[in-house]
Structures are given as structure tokens and as C-alpha cells.
Symmetry: D3
């Protein structure tokens, strides 16, 4: 198999600790040839740290000098759209960080261009690669769950407004807790239902704590520049009656510091994802099933591999451009419903 | 104080084990003079068991012979409306079992007539009398919670479709899990928000398990005559942005046999109701507060007393006719949204 | 259906608290007409307590005056044989307490006579009626266990040498911990394997603690008249290679006061009986299955009903005369191997 | 004291991580001078890694060039016999990995030659050096246990058929779960009884799971080349009536992934080894004793030291050649009883 | 044996539920002939309830008409002295509720008169009859503890100021938490040391919560009439250096509602009393010993029996008049040290 | 701000692992210029390890060559006094290890000289810098505790007599468990009360285990040279009635290996320090408050910073010379009371 030539756009933490290591562990499939960051010194340092040949301060240079087969985009949310469009125009497959974009139109355009160009565009929702999710999908496929009709999904932090980065800046992020955290569990919930589009969406967004301030568990944030929502609650109803209850928060007066889970209810069985338990009937009795030996996966490694599978035309469970567009549209409809 | 003369309408279990004992424990306030049931023998037996003088087979006789100050209605849901209207017409205060009625129009009419007549009409939502709810309301009043903006409320049974009574008969009950179970926690959630009317309601109702059958934990039900919903999920959005997520089930593939709870999120503190825990900041730190010595209340005794308080013109936290009408309308809007 | 006429032989505790109440709860199937005990006053008192017409001091009188369809034998082990033979000769079905007899020859003769007479002879191993055992058999039948090839069975008491009755008297009981306790779990283990006869038996029996004395948890026993074994360990190997490890003790220096369990290992799944857990593969993963809603059965009521089923020619899972003979022979071979 | 000259035969993992480090930590007692492996490069690499002077590809060279005082044999089971005999012939003390050999005759010959030559031959059963075992032996010696009469010993894996090495190859290993795992706990059980020879042995061996395949927790094995037993159950009866129940498995449908334990029952006290608890009478009451401060031992270091003690003529609790021969004979009798 | 004739003085709850039932269970030893209470009707009702012949309103009548061998005094603390003196003068043995009296001089006088008269005077410290205390004394006697040199004793309630009776009235009770609760654990601590007299006593007493008011867990008390201490802390130092730390509270801001325990430290072993655990060395290791099968004693029955033993001249572990005097003196010295 | 020049006196473990790293993490405030130890080689090695310029064998040289602004004293207790006096005389601020000295007079003299010279003298009681203590002080300041009136403080080891150093040498250490361990919790208890001087002190000291020997959990000590107390118990009573119960042990027959805690009782709330829980009333109910997100502090770093704050004239919660003198006097009074 031919090795793909990959370039990284964005020189931050997620490139350094997630994407580059994951690519580097698959040297027979991919060769990381360049890092690109507006801050040339940062790009250089990162390239040197990982033994990557080139470091660029502009994507122009990158495309001219390297012609990468694959581009991995690890920049703030508002750059996903322009950088993805540019990469596709240059004929590169794109592996873009989540969320897809900061509004639905962007995500739709990105999907359209990728389809036009016959290129892979995928989004990095790594929770799909957890052992728990793999098992959920096997349970679904094997009929253990019957028809799935309701899902409760939440990703809650008690006081986890990040004290660094752009997480509270609306223009750069497009939103708060839903855009950063909720999308992870929403993506899984949609997968469980085969990625339908809801016919009704209702939601609310709040910022009481974010705008008031207080004790922080992920650094200290500034209430006076807090522009996004600290909590979003939403309900999605789908044709055929399936429904999703979705909760996401950066800050909420709840017990656990971090609480991320899905409950998936089907006509034959129900699953709580973390830790995985299946509730069903077996031998004529109500049964609770535990799976005590699920492995811990390196979920970034697996998701990067899934993206590369897609590039190589193999079956893959990576989040596609089309799925990303559906998800982004739902996010937008929730924010609209919430009056934001 | 003058003792009130009370009559019981309905000769079933709830009269026998809840209402009559609760009234009998307050002999200085109320005197139970009659039991009325279509089945005369049943009425007689119940009256004898509790040392009650009269037993009637028709409400006509009851009103002619006894002229009760107070009527307690413990009949199937579809009788709440006609029996309440009749009682009010005869000048009796009414303590009616929940839910108020089988549709919103009935509940509104009942409230209107009570107001016209200057009589008390109240509904028996006893969870309001738990120590936990009393403490929640004290926390709210004292400012420990700040502004309450989101509530998650659920009343879930895993396989608790009753194998007796009329619980699966739509004409008599008006609905299933929401009508029988969900209303309890919905009433509490509305109380926490001062009983507003939602501007938006979205919901879904299911009957996969009810119509399929299987192992039952509250007797065996007949899937072929199962007419109501076995699970209802809903989302309510209120003016001023507060929201409620509501889940109710007779049957759902979840872990616990019975799971009934509310989480109430405010800007300063959040509460999980059972067991009661408060999550807030204290002395500049995130604090979890337990109240280990809450008493077990006799909630029926307390709710009956609250009703009598209302009859005597005293302050009372019993569910009023107006609140009942709001609640019944929300139930109806949920069912409409769910296409039932 | 014709009601059967039943008589009780033996006026002790097991008649009073187990057999008579179980029979009395099935009045449409059986009528208890007599109690027979060597001690006439005891018989009379027991009959009066339970509203039974006749009380006899000799079985002669019983058969002459009552001609029972069914006889329930609740006497010390050494009387099981003569009283069963007499009952069968008089044409009565027999429900005999466990163990069947005090040696294998007796049990074989009892089975032979019952077969000759075309009468039901059954033994009261009630653990067969636990919800756990019923579920085990359903798991086995449904193929969840595959081929069962090894069983660990134990019934251990730490210091449970009874301080009353004849439990330490070898002539009357025929043995100690194995005869009194071990037979219960041995019977279940044999059921799981379809009641085969082992080709090899190896065992040891001990009496260190019983002959030394010390703290007792079921009253105080007399070491100087302790004649039976306080612990028996055995291994059974069956044609086709299945095997059973069996442990029974009245007294053993182990942690739990009482510990009674079976582990059943099959090619596809294994079960620990109390509390019931199933260990298998599901959806390609190792799975542990719990069944949290197993009912508590009234196992004596169910076993008496199973015996009556057999008398009425219906399918029944009560321990048959043939199974009893196989079990008694195994007990005898264990004691022989142990040199007792 | 003179430093002993030691050589390692076998270049695998056990040499690298267990034996060489243990020897290297006792430099005043022993000097590791050579590593010998059929694969010269492997021997060289291992020697270099640990700073050992010589690396040989044949034992011939080893003995000619180094004349080691001590030889440590870390090769597959089938080589234990020829390599031990050769080492003894060359006048070296031998520390051989467990099990002693692949049949009883080999182990007896090895013991005989060591005795003839006046050399130490010992086997590496390191569990003897756990704090728990040391405490068990102190309890036994101090009389806290009285007469030990029954032992339950097991070493069970749920799905632990190794996916590497020769563990499923009968010719090289001599057997499966019993040969690899069961011998560890059998050795301890025999120690507790002062290493007697049983007068009766009964056992069964199974390979249902091994030959069928499925999920593995120690890599994936090939069912089609699975030649050994995946589970062995056995019962040993000794002169004077003591008995051992022994269970060993590579694969069994049981709950825990790994479960290794002994229960030792004596007339005065009983012990469960892991975690260590003693069950006895104290001050006239039944007492459970925990020892919360047992140290974690470096058991390989201690066992190597015990072997060196033996070489130096000091008291030692290392497994002797004679004990190894008794154990190997028991293993053989179990396999014979099981028809393998 | 001659049956003793007993009379009860005091018609309250402790007579009704503790002393009379305990006496009535030993009919071969004692015959309860009279109840005496200032309130004649109360005396009569109590006598009738328990089938006791006589009911008196004055002790004069009692002694004139009944001449009891034994008198049991169950009246408020301030009556213990006069009623005991009177009973002794009339030649009756006395079993007096704790505490002995309301000051040391009274207790000394009571002991002196009993000795003069050759009569038994004993105090009802029933905790001496718990299984835990019996085992502690056996451990002490058997040498398992070595020399006992320090004891921590506490009897703490979080909000247990009784809302009934005279518990907050200083004139009638003589004190608060120490007088009512502390004496129980102080008596045990003194027993463990063979009832020495301390050479130094230091203590403090508090009434912050009692005088402020708040939530009560044993009814509601009145802060404005709260005269006793709500908490007493003290330290006792004995000749030979043993020491006791003593804490008693009716109200204290501590976690548990009720917390009553002793820790007894000896040179060889230490004991925590509830639940009983022994901490020592065994077989050369630090050992924690649990005794899981201690029986629940009917401690009042046992203590009454112990008093009767004393009356019959048998060995008894009931609290003697001399011990009571020592204890009362210590209480007085603590209060003096605390400036009360 | 000018950087302070610091010197370390004492070349042991506490200098190496606590003080030097803490100073080195604040390079903008302090520059460590010298290490001084009687053992020149040790001083040199330590200096080299941490990149410190000078290493001296005598304090003379130190003061002549370096003129440090700050001296940190990490030597055995008996050297604290002479070295502190010398340092003050040379004009250096002093940060001295705890305890202040080996008797009260020394501590008073040290405080007096520091005051005279206008220099900072502080003692290293680092527990003041735990998050728990900081929160306690915030709770006290905010009024959540009301008046603090009783404190139980203990620092107990079960078998923690150090097997190294001078801990059992009375001349060098001045005492045992109280001097080494008890002072930590005594300092905190005094802080909670604003560092008062007690008007009464009563205490006892023991050495049963220390002088007998046995199993050690911190190495093995020599009973024959054990000169200090292994346990000290004491009671302090303060003007205004507050009291402290204090327990400290190197060896005691208690359950936990190490157990260090304070309970602080106030009129409005009580606190258990580790883990921090607050017991109070909230919303009219008894409430238990947990603070689940307290950070782990680097307490040495914080305490060193607090000392530097003091040197720079900033507010600081480091233990002052005056507090140290009060504490040392209490220790002396306890030992006197205990006859040591």
C-alpha cells in the first residue's frame, strides 16, 4: 500500500498529544510531512519534537511545497470551515476536529465540496472508538436491543468552564457547552438511530453560573467576558417517534465533577454506556448483564486509523461529512430554539 | 372548631388504606359519616371495617341523607369529573385523587365551578408532603438555590405495568404511565417553578413492551388489551426560559425496578431530591450537603390535613383546583405532541 | 378432581412447620385426615393445632381407620425404610423426608416396592423448588450452558452441630453432615447432570471438632456422644467424564456461619447458584449476568405441590424413588471410601 | 563467603525478568557469568543487557569454558530433564523452573542423580516466599491450626489460555492447566501436609473451551492446535486421612478473571490464604483474624536466595529435588486417572 | 430456692419496659408483689398491666403491708437517696437505677448503710451485661490485653436533649449529659481498671447548644429552662499512671446521631468495644481480630439476674454500692473541676 | 523585590527533600547559597545535587563567608536552640524545624532574641498549609462554627517507632511521640483557639510497647535503648473554658497504622478535619457538608512561602516565635504532669 503524506494544521495541544502521536504509530500507512501554524516558531518546535520535516506559517506554503494527501485540522472552531474548504480545493482528504463548523451552512458546504471532489472529509468524534460503543453497536446489530426508541445523553461538568483557550468566546467557538461537549454524546446518540434528522427540536440555554463566576475546577474563567452558554438542555423528536434528551454543561450545580453517559432504550434491551450494562430478559427473567473485561482502547489511535481506512476506501465508522452536516444542523436548531 | 362531616366515594384500596385512615386520625377535625360505592356490599364492608355509619350504593342517596361538608373521591380517573361536579353542586368541598381528570377541559370546568361555589377542590398529590419536598421548598425560600432554571423529573418502572385494575384501559384512565405516575413528579417540578404554564411542549409516547408482553414485576398484564402508553418522554419550556425534562414509564429496559426522582438546578444551588442532597458553594468551596436526619412522614396523613386546612381557610400547600387544571392541560399537550 | 386423603407420620417440628402447612394451603387437592406419632399426646396436640380430625399412636390404627391415599413421613432417618414399606403395602403414595434411608439397600428396596405397587414414592428435597434452581434448569434447557462437565457443591456450617435431636447419633441418623446437609446439594448436582451413577467415588470424613467440643452456633452439643462425621469431602467421577466436588460440614474452621452453594460449569456458560449469576459470552464479549428480580419461593409449598402432581399423574420435578436410590448409593459409597 | 559462579540456560522472558535480576541483586553471593540459548543472538543480547560476560549457543561450550557452580534452567518443560541431568553431570547445582519435568520418571531420575552427586537440585515454586505462606507456616508451627486435615486449592483462569509460547503444545509442556498453574498451589498444599504421597488420586481433565475457541484475556489461542487440558479437577487422599481438592484451569466459565487461593482446614483453626484470614476460637468465642500489615515480598528474590542458601548448606525452604519428584508423580497420577 | 418478694418504686417507663419484664421472666427466683408510685392511678394501671397484686401511693404502705425482700427503685435521680435509705432501713435489698445519687455524699451514705445492714445495694448499669463487655473481661483475664493503661470512653448524642421528663432540670437530675449518659461508659472504663479512685481529675462542661436551641432528634427541648450541661469532657489520671478520657454529650456538632464506645489500650492488646475488635500481635504479626458471632443479650434480664445472684450470695458482676460511691465521687469531682 | 540569600543548616533528609526543593521553586524570592553540615562531604554532596555554591562544615565559616539573610535549620531537636541563637546573633531570619526546642526556656529565649533583633523566627508546622486547615480557618472566620469550645486532636501510629535516626534518644530529641508527632496537631488546635495559654494541664506518658519490642512498621527499633515515651495523652483547659484532648503515639494497640485528625466543636458547627466534613444546621435541618474538590497542596512549598512572606513583612500564617514558645511550654507542662 502507498503511504499517505499528511500535514497538520494547528500547533496546539490537540495536535501535539492526540493527532500527531496517533499518526506516528501508523508509519506504514501515513507519513507526517509538515506542521502548519500561524506562529512559525510554534510550528517549528512541534515539528522538531515529533521529527517532522517541514514547518510552515501559512497554508499557502504548505500546499505549494508539500501537496499533502491528507490534512488534519486542529484549529479553533471558526477556522474549520475556511481551512477545510481550502484543503479540499487542493485535493487533500481532510480529518477535521469536532465540531464540524460554527454553523450549519458551513458544514453543509464542506460536505458538498468533499462529495464534489470525491475526497474524504471526516470529523474526529473519538468516543465512537470506545470499547463500550463498539459493544453497543454489536448489541444493536445482533438484535439484543430490538428497536431503539429513546436515548438520554448527557455530558455535564459541575464547574468545568475552561480557564484557558477560547472556550468562552462566541465568535471563535460558535457556542459553549453544547458546541464543545454536547456534540460528542449527540453524535453517539444519532449513530444509535442511524443518523436521522429530527422533525422537532426544542431547547434552552443558560449562563447563570458562567456570568456570575465562582470556584473553578478547570482553571478560573472571567465572568465578564463569558459569552457562551454554560448549559444547554434539548429534546429531539424524530420521524417514527424516536426521541433524544440531551444535556450538556460547562457548569451546573450537580454532584459529580464530570458526568458523561448515554442510556439507550430499545424494545428488547436497554444499555447504560459507562460502565456498560445491558438490561433485558434472558431465560424468561429480567437480566442485568455486565461485561467486566472490556479493554481500554486508545481511541484517538483507532479513530485516526478509521479515517485512514476511509481514505483507503475501506469500511470505516469515522464520522462522515454528511453526518457532520446533520449534527451541525441539529446544534443550530437547538440554539435557535433556545433563542441564542 | 366545628368538626367537618366527610363522605368517601369509591370503595377500593386507596380509600381503605390511605384516605379513611388519614381522616380517622384527625377525629377532632373531621367525622367520616359515609362510604359510597356502586357495589353496596363493598361499601358496607368498608364502612363496617372502619366504624363508619352509612354505606350507600348511589351518590344521590349520599347527598340526600348525609349532606357531607367534604367529599373524598377515590374512583377511577374517568369518574373524577362527574363526581366532583356533582359534589360541588351539592355544596361539598372535594378532595379528589390524582390525576384531576382525563382531559384538560374537565379539569378547567371543575376549577371554575369550585371557584363559583366558593368551595375547596384539591387533588391528592401526596409527594408534596415528603420531608424532602418540604426541605426543598425551605431551601428555595431561603435563597440557597438562587433562580431555578432546569428540572429533570422522572418516575420510571422497569416492568411495573399493573396486572390488576384499569391501568391499561384508555377510556377509564385517560392514559398510561404519564397519567398515573408522571403527574406526581410533574406536579413537584411545577411547584418548584411556582406553577407556570409552558409556552412549548414536546413529547413522545411508546408502547413497545406493553404491547409485546413479558415478565411482570407488578403482576401479569395482557398485551392484547394494552391500550395506553408504557413510557412517555417530554420536554417543557417556560416563559423566562426555565425547562423541565420529564420521563415516566410503566415499562422500560432500565436497571432499577422503581426509580423516582427530581433534580432541581438553580443558579446558586442544585438539589437531588431522593435521597436529598444539595450541591452548592460554601466558604468559597464546592460543597455537597446531606441532611441525614430527615423524618419519614406519613404523607397521606399530612396531605389530608393540608386539605382540611384549606377547607378551614388556613394556609395550605395542597394541590389546588387551579394547579390541577394547569397540570392536566400540560398532560394533554404532551399527549397531543406525542400523537396520542 | 378428587381430593386425596393424607396422613402425617411423625409429630416433630418438620411436620408442624413444613408439611402440614403446605398441605393445608392446597385444600382442593388434599385433605389431611390424621397425624400419627408414637407419643399419642403429641399427635393429638398437633392435630388439634391444625384442625386435623384423627390422632394415632400407631400406624396400624392409622391404616385400619383411615386408609390414607397419601402418607407423609417426617420421622428420624432410621424409620424412613420400615414406615415407607408399610405405607406402600397399604397402598398409599409416600412423601418421605430426606435422606431416603440410612443405607443404599433400603432405598433400593423402597423404590422396587413402589414400582411394583404402581405407587408414587418421593423424597422431600425442597431446594429443587428455589427460583434459582428453576432458572438453572431453564438455562440448561435453553442451551445457555452447553455441556455441563463439572460441579462444585458444598453445604458448610462453621459451628452448626445441632444441640438438639438425634443429629449426632449414628444408629438413628446413619451419618452426619453428609447425610443431613450434603444430600441437599448432591441432589441438585445430580439433577444438573440428569442423575447419573458415578463410576468412581473417593471421599474422606472427619470428626476433629465434633469430638473435641467448643463454641456452638446451633446450641451446644456433647463431644462425648458425638458419633457421626462433622465434615465429609468427596469427589465423584461419572461416565463421560463429568465430575462433582462435594463438601459438607456441621463444623469447619471456615469464615461464614452457613455457606451453601453450587457452581455449575458448562462448555458455554457457568452458573453460581446463590445469588444466581451466569458467566458466559454474549455479543462476542465475556459477560456476567445477574437476575435481580428472582422471587422468593415458598419451597415447601411448591415441593408438596410437585409431589401431589406426581400422585395425580402429572409432570413433576419432585425427587423420585429411583433418584433417591441412586443418591443413597452414592452416599454409601462415599462413607465406604472414607472408611466409615 | 566465596561467590558462586552462575550460568543461565534459556534466553526467554523468565530469565530476563525473574532469574537474572534476582541473582544480580545478590552480588556478594553469586556472579552471573554466562547466558546460554540455542539462539546465539538472543543469548548475546540478554547477556549485554544485564552486563554478563559470556553468551553461548550450546551447553557444551558453557560447561567447557565456564564450569559454573550453579546453573539456572529457564527453558520449556521438556528440556528440564536433559539439561538438569547434564548440569549435574558437570557438577553444577541446579535451580530449575517449575514444573520439574514432563513425567514422574524424569523427576525421580533427576532427584536420584542430584543425591548421588551431592548437589543441590531445586525447583522454582516462588509462592512459598509470599508473606502469606510464611505466616501460614508460622501459624502451623505455633499450633494455631492444630491438625491440618483438608485443603482446597485452586488456580483458575476464566479465559487465560496463553496466546503465545508453547502452552498448548502437549509434547513440549507435558500438559496444560495442571502442569502450568495447578502445580503452584499443589506444591503449597503438599507443604502444609509435610509433603506426603497420596494413597488415592482421582481426577478429570477437560478441553471444551480450549478446543472451541472464543474471547481470550491473555491473547488469542488457536483451538485447532489446542492439545492440552484447559481444566483439571482432582482429589487426593492421604494416609492418615488428610485430603486435597485441587482445581486448575486455563479456561472456565467462572466469574473472576484470575482466582488463585488455598483454604487450609485444621482441627483448631482454618486459613484462607489470599487475603490471609484465620478462623479459630479465641477467648471462648469464634474469631476471625486479619493481618493487615503483611509486606509484599519480592518472591523471586527470596526464592533465589533460598536456593543459594541450600547451595551454601544453610536451612532453606526451597522446593527440593525429592519434593519435586513427589509432586511430579502426583501430577502424572492425576493425568492417568483423567485418561490423558 | 426460696422465691424473693419484690416491689417496684416508680411507675414510669423504665419500670414498665425494663425492670418489671426482667423480673417477670425469672418467676422461680422472684415474685413481684407491688408497685408504688406517688400517682396511685398510675401504680394501679401498671400493676394491672403486669398482673401484680398491690399498688401503693406511698412507700409507708408498701413496707407495712408487703415487707418486700427486694426493692427496685426507678424514680428520678434526686429520690434515689431517700428511697434507698428507707428501703435499707426496712431490711430490703435495693436495686437502684443509675446514677447512684445526685452527689457523692449520698452515695457514700447509701453504701455505708447497706454494709451496716448486711444488705445488697446495687446499681443498674446494664452495659456490663453486653456480650462485648463480657468478652472484654475474658480478654483481660486471659492476658490478651496485658496491662491496661489508657481508655477513651464516650457517649455522645448530636441533638439528643430529651424533650420529655426532667433531664434538663438540675435539681432533680443533679446534672446533664455526664450524669445521664457519661456514667454508663465511665462505669465500664472503671471496671476495666478494677475500679480505682483517680488521683487527678480535670474537666469542662458546656451548654452552648442547650441554651440556644435548634433542631432536636429526641423531641424538642426548651432552651429557656435548660439548666444542665449539654456536654462534659474530662480526663482522669490514676495512681500507677492509668488514664481515662471521657466525653459525654446531649448535644454536640458531631456526625453521628448517637455514638457510644470505649477504646481500651493495653500493653499487649487494645480493644474497640462496639463492634468488638481486638488489635494485637499473633504469630509475630500485627493482627486484627473480629468476633462475628457475639450474641445480642437481653442486658436488662441479665443485669436483674446478676442483682438476684448477689442477693442470693452468689458471685455477681452487678455494680456494687462501693463502686457506685466511687463513681459518684468522680462525677462530683468532674463537675467541680468544671466549675458547676 | 530583592532576592534573599539563604543557607541550610543540617544535611539530612528533611533538608534534601523538603526545604531545599521548596526554596528552589521560588527563585525570584530566594537564592540558596550554602549548605552547612558537620559532615563536610555530606554538605558537599547535597550542595552539588541541588546546584548550591557553598558547602561548609561549620556555621562559623558559613556566617563569615556568606552572611545569609535567611537560615533554615534542619538539625536534631537539641541543636535548634544554639543554632537559632547563633543565627539571630548574626542577623539572619530563621526558619527552624519543629519542635521549637527541647524545653520551654529555650523557646522563650529564642523568641526574646528574635524580638530584640527585629528578625523573623518561625517554625515549620506545615499542616497549617493543608487545604483542610485553610478551609477550617475560613469556616471559623465566616462564623459557620460559632464559638469553638472543644477540640479532640490525635496523631497516632500503631507501630511507628522509627527504626532510624535519634527518635528514641531523649537527650537529642527531648521526648517521644508528643515531641515528634503530637506537636503538629497541638499547633493546629491552638490556632483554632487563637493560641491561648492553658490554665490547667494534665497528662500521662507511657512506654510499655517501646520498652518491650515487637513488630515494627517503620523499621525495627531497639527496646533496650528506648528512652522516650511511646504514647502521651493529655488534657488542656483554657481560661474561658475551652478544652483540648490530645493523644499522640509512636506505638499503640489501635486499628489504623496511622491516624491523624482533629475534631473541632463549635457552638454553631463542628468539623472533622480529615477528610473535611462540617456538621451544622442548614435550612432548619441537621446538615453534613462535604467539600469533595479540595486540592492537594504542596504544603512545604506553601509554608516556606509563608515564612518568606513574613521575612518580607507581609501577612503570613507561619508559626511565629511567640506561638512556638507557648506550644513548647505546654509540651513541658504535659511532660511534667506525666512525671517525665
Amino acid at each position: 500500500m502507498t503511504q499517505l503524506k499528511a500535514a497538520i494544521i494547528g500547533g496546539g495541544n490537540i495536535a501535539d498529544t492526540n493527532h500527531i502521536p496517533a499518526l506516528k504509530q501508523q508509519p506504514d500507512r501515513v507519513d507526517v510531512v509538515a506542521v502548519c501554524s500561524r506562529d512559525q516558531a510554534k510550528a517549528r518546535a512541534l515539528a522538531d519534537k515529533h521529527g517532522i520535516a517541514h514547518a510552515f506559517a501559512s497554508t499557502n506554503e504548505l500546499y505549494q511545497q508539500c501537496a499533502p494527501d491528507v490534512v488534519v485540522i486542529c484549529t479553533p472552531n471558526n477556522l474549520h470551515y475556511p481551512q477545510t474548504m481550502e484543503a479540499l480545493e487542493h485535493g487533500s482528504h481532510v480529518f477535521c476536529e469536532k465540531p464540524p463548523a460554527i454553523n450549519a451552512q458551513q458544514a453543509r458546504d464542506m460536505a458538498r465540496l468533499a462529495a464534489q471532489k470525491g475526497l474524504v472529509l471526516a470529523y474526529n468524534f473519538q468516543l465512537r472508538q470506545t470499547s463500550e460503543w463498539a459493544l453497543l453497536m454489536r448489541c444493536k446489530t445482533s438484535g439484543l436491543l430490538g428497536d431503539i426508541y429513546h436515548i438520554k445523553a448527557h455530558f455535564l461538568r459541575r464547574r468545568g468552564i475552561p480557564g484557558w483557550g477560547y472556550f468562552t468566546n462566541k465568535a471563535m467557538q460558535g457556542g459553549g457547552a453544547l458546541m464543545d461537549l454536547g456534540v460528542h454524546v449527540l453524535d453517539l446518540a444519532l449513530c444509535a438511530l442511524d443518523y436521522p434528522t429530527p422533525d422537532q427540536v426544542l431547547g434552552n440555554a443558560y449562563d447563570f453560573i458562567g456570568k456570575t463566576g465562582g470556584k473553578g475546577l478547570m482553571g478560573s474563567w472571567k465572568p465578564e467576558t463569558f459569552e457562551v452558554e454554560d448549559a444547554t438542555m434539548a429534546y429531539l423528536s424524530f420521524p417514527g417517534k424516536a426521541s433524544i434528551m440531551l444535556s450538556a454543561s460547562f457548569a451546573l450545580n450537580t454532584q459529580a465533577d464530570k458526568d458523561r453517559n448515554l442510556e439507550i432504550f430499545g424494545s428488547k434491551g436497554g444499555v447504560k454506556l459507562f460502565p456498560f450494562s445491558l438490561h433485558t430478559e434472558l431465560a424468561g427473567e429480567l437480566a442485568d448483564v455486565q461485561f467486566p473485561y472490556l479493554e481500554d482502547n486508545d481511541i484517538q489511535l483507532k479513530n485516526t486509523a478509521a479515517f485512514l481506512d476511509a481514505c483507503e476506501g475501506k469500511p470505516s465508522n469515522v464520522c462522515t461529512a454528511e453526518e457532520g452536516a446533520i449534527l451541525q444542523e441539529i446544534v443550530e436548531r437547538i440554539y435557535q430554539s433556545a433563542g441564542r
